[in-house]
């Protein structure tokens, strides 16, 4: 059986945006900035980094928050600033843009794999692959033993972006990165 990998249009557009951008060095630098709550995902992987623009004087680092009240956003802004300054880039502004709203569709394939390896079930490990953008109450793939015999314990986990599940085969609880 041949598996043809497919990606969401959101992710496709995002990759195109980066590939066409002139500011490749800035994009690469920001690959070193990770989400403080989920330190295996870069701001690019998770989809917080929306675009890099240049207004003639400053680089505009456009970010979009995941959840409205996510406290990691402030820390991420500081980390972006530090990474740029450490690399002698001082002409920058970090801007928050709400539209288009963040969705888990913008998570990169590398990010999805890293998340699963870290022990957090990624949003695509829903039976429908997150096509309906609904967090189900069961059948999430267990990141420990790959069983689908799993069930929700709580709609919220350790952070707003996660729900708590339990695997009935290996008996391990695990976080699921909610599909929105």
């Amino acid at each position: 059986m041949t598996i043809i990998p497919t990606i969401s249009t959101v992710l496709y557009d995002k990759i195109q945006l980066r590939e066409r951008s002139e500011y490749t060095n800035i994009w690469s630098l920001l690959d070193n900035v990770y989400d403080p709550e989920i330190p295996v995902l870069s701001v690019w992987d998770i989809g917080i980094l929306q675009n890099i623009e240049f207004d003639g004087d400053d680089y505009l680092i456009i970010i979009t928050p995941t959840y409205s009240g996510c406290p990691a956003v402030d820390a991420i802004k500081e980390d972006i600033a530090k990474e740029l300054q450490d690399n002698q880039i001082f002409n920058y502004q970090i801007k928050t843009r709400l539209s288009p709203a963040w969705t888990t569709d913008s998570m990169t394939l590398e990010g999805i794999n890293k998340l699963r390896a870290y022990g957090i079930a990624p949003p695509t490990d829903v039976l429908d692959g997150c096509a309906l953008h609904i967090t189900p109450t069961e059948n999430i793939l267990c990141p420990q033993c790959n069983s689908r015999n799993t069930h929700i314990i709580s709609e919220f986990g350790s952070t707003a972006c996660k729900a708590l599940f339990k695997c009935h085969d290996c008996q391990e609880p695990f976080d699921f990165f909610k599909c929105i």
Binding site: P65, Y67, S68, G69, C70, P71, L98, S99, A101, W102, H133, T135, I153, S154, E155, F156, G157, S158, T159, A160, L164, K178, I180
Partner: protein, 253 residues
Amino acid sequence: MLDLKEKTKQYSTRLGDDSLILGHRISEWTSNGPFLEEDIALGNVALDYIGRARMFYTYAADLAGNGKTEDDLAYLRSEREFQNYLINELPRGDFAFTMVRQLFVDVFFSYYLKALTNSNDTELAAIATKSLKETRYHLRRSRDWTLRLGLGTDESKARMTKALAEIWGYVHELFEPDELELELIACGIAVDTREIKDNWFADIGAILSEADLAIPDAEWAVRGGRKGYHTEHLSMLLSVMQSVHRAHPGANW
């Protein structure tokens, strides 16, 4: 005659008030939740609301353009300047009361925010698009809890019935736009809550019926939130919420 920008600023501020005051009320459950998962869930819902308040306040502050920030709006206004709907300021009560309020507010916001995504004001529409996803997730929880408590024990059912009776009279003002909102509705900016009233009553009726709970037969109604007339509870909430900022103006960490 206020100009459109000023009116939109006031509108965004009151939407921020709704979210901030409710978010603060829910946050009072932190470390008081009935069990650990629920404690965490309530904390996360509170964060969503406080985050939503920040977006509305930040936009209002941008429109004001006078150097004031979201913090000025949240921490340096007094009771009469807040224009949140009264339902949001009521004390958290027991878990049943909190869940009935969440159900009412979640159903309300699920229609309200959907309508606001079509606002002629693109920033308000963007905030609504972002918040709507969160509200739909909240609604799933509050609906689930309503069923569990309504169909649970005699005790849980009795508490839900009591909570419904206590909250019902605060529902009516949600569907009565004031002068400011009527003007902004005419401009395609604000949501006309009269148009979501029937859906709200139908959804709440269906959920309560499924939970074997009755819609209260209550004729009283309390109004005034959008005019700045509040219950006695808001001033106490503000005195707690604003105390640090007022004691240490401009403090940063």
